[in-house]
Symmetry: C2
Subunit: 145 residues, 2 copies
DNA sequence: CCAAACCCTCTAGTATAATGGAAGGTAACC
DNA sequence: GGTTACCTTCCATTATACTAGAGGGTTTGG
């Protein structure tokens, strides 16, 4: 069992923020010592690191909460949890492909404007337009009957 | 040339928010008609869609601004822009792999807890932990300097 | 013993990212 | 010419996610 300060250093999240996460239900209420100090376990550290990872990726506290629920509620109604998890996985995969799309936009930028001072670089005209190069196939190929 | 309402509908972003983006420098100041109405072009629509994509992915307004700069400043100092773009691409790739890590966490959840009511499901013990290699945690950190 | 470094709760303030509403001008249609 | 749907600016408010500070108790070490 460790105090909040140690946990704070281990997860690189301030003690204030840890208490805040507790107040909004992201972190569970920990056991208390006789002195009233919060007593954390190794699992709390992992939880906090999970939260940190997800927050860093731009998931809102509420969204992280949803992911956390999946994670903590895994002991009961596993079938439901599994379904919800698959849903979240799907959303994350969409997110990944959108990121890939933005990456592709930027890569095209660097490839088209390859270090000289050419005045035009028609990225907008054919790349960002229509969502991205990655989705241009939507226009050009049928893909679905 | 289109008015803000049309642009708003095309990009699925409220007129209020478009003006807000203008006020914080994300959207360029558009031309004005004789009536003072904002006059937008096709490119503004693309710009707005780029902003929307990036914001949806959790990039802050400032970060989106950085991406926008790359995009709009491509006409001058292409070499520098290229370097900065490569940097951003790198960051985005890191982001993608972090997302993949979270996805892996969730996939493992569904695989381990495969729909029955088994009480334990040792995801924490070997999965989320694996992300951060420093699990030499409880070896009592120094508490005083 | 006492100071420094912890910890506690509670309230308030900040930054970000919008969103709402007032007050009024403009454009389109009947 | 009136009504409705636009548009304008400016100021206020909301929601989210912390962050700071007051005021006070606890633990550790010289």
């Amino acid at each position: 069992m460790i105090n909040i300060g140690i946990l704070s250093r281990q997860a690189d999240i301030s003690a204030k923020t840890i208490r805040y996460y507790e107040s909004v239900g992201l972190m569970p209420e920990p056991a208390r010592g006789g002195n009233g100090y919060r007593q954390y376990t190794e699992m709390d550290l992992e939880t906090l690191r999970f939260i940190r990872r997800a927050r860093d990726l731009g998931f809102s506290v509420k969204e992280v909460g949803d992911l956390m629920k999946l994670w903590h509620d895994r002991n009961r109604a596993s079938a439901d949890v599994r379904a919800i998890a698959l849903n979240h996985i799907d959303e994350i995969e969409q997110r990944i492909s959108k990121l890939k799309s933005i990456r592709r936009t930027l890569i095209n930028l660097t490839e088209r404007c390859h270090g000289d001072d050419r005045p035009d670089c028609p990225i907008l005209d054919d790349l960002v337009k229509g969502e991205s190069a990655e989705t241009r196939w939507l226009r050009d190929s049928p893909r679905k009957g």
